[in-house]
Symmetry: none
Subunit: 143 residues, 4 copies
């Protein structure tokens, strides 16, 4: 079963929203997945557009699927777009290869899950994800 507690996931989401409020970001959506790629918690702020869940989920899923934050996935997609197009199909349309998907590990390096944020620029989305992960006492990998 998952090493990621619901309480941890909720802390991550609250902190990501606080970071967004503090830095004046647009409405955010935050998805927290366990190491198996399964959704533990999600929240979407008011006035979000309708595909925000899929995009936030897809960033977190993409990070887990390829074992790297989506900033690195983005670089890979630009260098080898045909590879990313195929991976997107392989994943059944669940990969979103732009920054904002960040892996999280515990102090010993063990993979705990991933966070995906969508709503503002990809860079700001990623900063909100990292803030959430750190507030939960975990280490952000790939943000």
């Amino acid at each position: 079963m998952s090493d990621l507690k619901l309480e941890t996931a909720n802390t991550i989401i609250e902190t990501a929203f606080a970071k967004g409020a503090e830095t004046g970001l647009k409405p955010l959506a935050v998805a927290v997945l366990d190491a198996g790629g399964h959704l533990v918690a999600f929240q979407r702020q008011d006035l979000s557009s309708l595909m925000r869940f899929q995009i936030a989920f897809g960033k977190a899923y993409g990070a887990l699927a390829l074992g790297m934050g989506t900033r690195a996935v983005d670089t890979m997609a630009r260098e080898r777009p045909h590879f990313m197009a195929a991976l997107s199909d392989v994943a059944g349309g669940r990969l979103v290869p732009v920054p904002g998907g960040v892996l999280m590990r515990d102090g010993s390096g063990r993979l705990i899950g991933a966070v995906g944020v969508s709503g503002d620029t990809s860079d700001n989305d990623e900063a909100a994800a990292v803030a959430g992960i750190e507030a939960a006492g975990l280490v952000a990998d790939g943000g």
Copy 2:
């Protein structure tokens, strides 16, 4: 944009979990969707099995897709299994036709969204959904 606020969705989830704790239910997963069928918030309690998100989502989505709580959808599925099988394909595998998906309306009867709960028996899942909806000052339709 959605008439369903994130704050309302969070109240629903917290109350459904409180109902589960109070009545000794197994770990629950609760999905709250707006009237357009889009996810606003989801939480899965620790020790849930891995497909809980899809099941909770599918109950709420099924209620919205067919305009009735999934208790009525369940009856329809028993009477006309070939119709439900086709609807499941039409919906891309997003309909779960057992109790636990409940529509929610405001005082004037306006549809606000739906709640789907999964984790315990279908009857108990439904009771948790109804408790959440009522705690948010909304009317449960089809639970």
Copy 3:
């Protein structure tokens, strides 16, 4: 190119809605497809549930796909559910095997398209489709 004029399709939809109003039906959705299975016109009355387009389309598409009204498709589905389950997959989830999908032909028997109606009981949906087809000077086949 299609033998089905937009003007004809609009007459069919208006008449189906008039039939619904006259006989006190719930809000209806009506899809009109040409003989190639492509959508010419669709309208959904206010307060329809969210999957009405897919259901109305799927009835019309099912009639065209199998060359018979969906009343006959429904019978086939009850007799051979495994066949219908496979056809649903073959069609990519676009077949809805319950009454309400009716073929339309001109006076010489030439296939012009199909109409799918959803919103009330399957029998009432079908009656609205037939009314629309006849008002357009065409022959309802399979309703």
Copy 4:
């Protein structure tokens, strides 16, 4: 339930067709979606090619999915093609990222839905969508 009335959707379609006739455009297809991305009305003029529904729908859906008119989506797709390719997969092939998909809001800024037009050049398609939205007393956003 949807804030978009069928009557409003029909006004939009009629006006878009009138705009097309007035400016000598090719046959148009017009899809009107509510804020949840669900089809309210569609009409395709005679002599349209066979995929016009999917294209018109996809422009409107793309605008809603990403919260911006498809003119802006088009720009994003040119700048980050790997992101658009992934979003297309995430959306199950329902996004069409070229001009002609326009959001519509009421006077208070509330999102009411989106219009997608296809048939002539993307610029002319967009102008027809904007004409329809304005004739319905709504505000075109992103056209």
